[in-house]
């Protein structure tokens, strides 16, 4: 029964994939201050600590950063995707390559490049929130450009010319035809950008500074002093936020379709 043995292999792969996450969640219920698994005793103290000021501050910082990044990426991504999808112009291939570049270059390299560049031109004081916002928009912009381009490409151009031939002005076409049909792509792009920003380590590591650190960098900093069940609780909280976001809005914009297209693009 090859299908049955395939099912067994698949069950093992799921165990491999989800096991560590389940273990992390259960460790957070330890009654002791060590990360025992299976947990010893039962306590909610680490979940309380996860919402204490030490962790709430970077969590709120990350939420603000990711929200602003998603908004700016959407605003900057829309005209880019529109130009790429609807116009032919000299230099298009170059601008497109630059826009999608941050997906190709290792994020870590983009991070050290930004660190070095801002320091060299005397803007070292931007390190922290402003540098992080700039860097996150750079690495999240490709997501919103791509999702918007996908919904623009899926839209029949006829729809726009039909509206125009019925006497709609250019602006009216944009407002009543193009934008509403591009909306799912814009939203999906915002979700990808938010999640990507919220989860980023490789760029933030280099341009954060004490007091202005996203949650991931705060966790990494804490790791140097050892692992405590608090960290497990914080990790789970930080995992639930993007999950909740996709669960809430993902179905609405058909996020799965965008994910497939993304993979199709390699």
């Amino acid at each position: 029964m090859p299908w049955l043995s395939l099912k067994l292999v698949v069950a093992f792969v799921y165990l491999f994939m989800l096991g560590p996450i389940v273990i992390t969640a259960s460790v957070a219920f330890n009654a002791t201050d060590r990360s025992y698994f299976p947990p010893r005793g039962f306590s909610l103290q680490w979940w309380e600590a996860a919402f204490g000021p030490q962790w709430l501050q970077p969590l709120v910082f990350s939420l603000e950063l990711a929200t602003l990044t998603a908004l700016i990426s959407a605003i900057a991504g829309l005209p880019l995707a529109f130009a790429f999808q609807r116009y032919e112009f000299p230099g298009k291939a170059l601008v497109r390559a630059i826009t999608l570049g941050p997906l190709i270059l290792p994020t870590l390299v983009t991070g050290i490049a930004l660190l070095q560049f801002l320091s060299l031109i005397g803007l070292g004081r931007w390190m922290g929130f402003w540098a992080l916002l700039i860097g996150h928009v750079v690495i999240c912009l490709p997501f919103s450009v791509r999702t918007v381009a996908i919904s623009l490409a899926a839209m029949p151009v006829n729809l726009e010319s039909a509206a125009a031939s019925l006497g709609a002005t250019r602006l009216a076409v944009l407002r009543h035809v193009t934008f509403p049909l591009a909306a799912p792509g814009v939203l999906a792009g915002m979700i990808f950008a938010f999640v990507h920003s919220f989860d980023d380590v490789n760029l933030s590591l280099f341009i954060a500074r004490p007091g202005e650190r996203p949650l991931t960098v705060a966790i990494l900093g804490f790791l140097e002093f050892g692992f405590a069940p608090t960290l497990a609780a914080v990790s789970i909280v930080s995992m639930l936020i993007p999950l909740a976001l996709v669960a809430l809005f993902g179905r609405f914009v058909g996020i799965g379709d965008f994910l497939y297209q993304e993979a199709g693009h390699g």
């Binding site: 299976p38 005209p79 298009k92 070095q116 991931t216 790791l223 497990a232 390699g266």
Partner: protein
Amino acid sequence: MTQRAGEHRLVPYLLIALPAAFLLAFFVIPSVVLLSMSVVQSADAIPTGNLTLDNFATLLSNRLYVRAILRSFIVGIASGALVVLLAYPLAYFLVRTTSRWKNLLIALSLAPLLASVIVRTYGWWVVLNREGALNVALRSLGITDQPLLMLPSTLAIIVGLAHALLPYGVLTIMASLNGLNPSLERAAMSLGAGRARTFFAVTLPLSAPGIVGGFLLTFAIAMSAYATPAILGGPTTEVMATMIRRFMLELLDWSLGSAMGAILLVSAMVLLLLTSALGNRQRA
């Protein structure tokens, strides 16, 4: 009329002007500066302006640095291979199953992508550390009496990264299996090939682009990953990413940091360009 056409030609440039200027200032120029810094001498993080290949010579003549570079490649190749090995059966199952849980199972296999790498790696630390789940289990089963030291180790980094990157492999391989024409498999079967023969003679070769694509993609990401090697590794298992952090933030030797960044950048770019060239050939 000609003026209108002229206006029309300007429209795309007006659309892209601001975002393109932003990317030029904060992505293109910094990257170029980084690459040039790698061939410029510097003292105490201040470039002196002299051109040199010394930075690369220093990196390649120091055993510690060469090991970090090699370890990055080994980690990339091994975790890429592990990802493909685990992702293929899962992707095959997800594409072929008629279970009513299909969508849930797909969502479950991609959900880890939503969690930060740190969260996904932390679980492995809990499992593998000295007093971790695995050691407790081994001791209570009487298999070992001393705790095994599994951290820090290159193997742990490989397993952790394969775990973190598995969804990418599933996505790429599923995309190529979805694009496969099922009538080819039916044809093979109707000509008398068994299930196994059909799989190895038809399905597997036709999904090879997905396998290679998934391998190269995860190779490239694993090679430049920082968090997993930082958590599951240590001073004896440095990779390029952890060395770069040391150069940039601890030793403040930005020339060596940039040089290693340049090596990482070029390696990752070659891998990803290969991936996309392969994807284009597949579509053509």
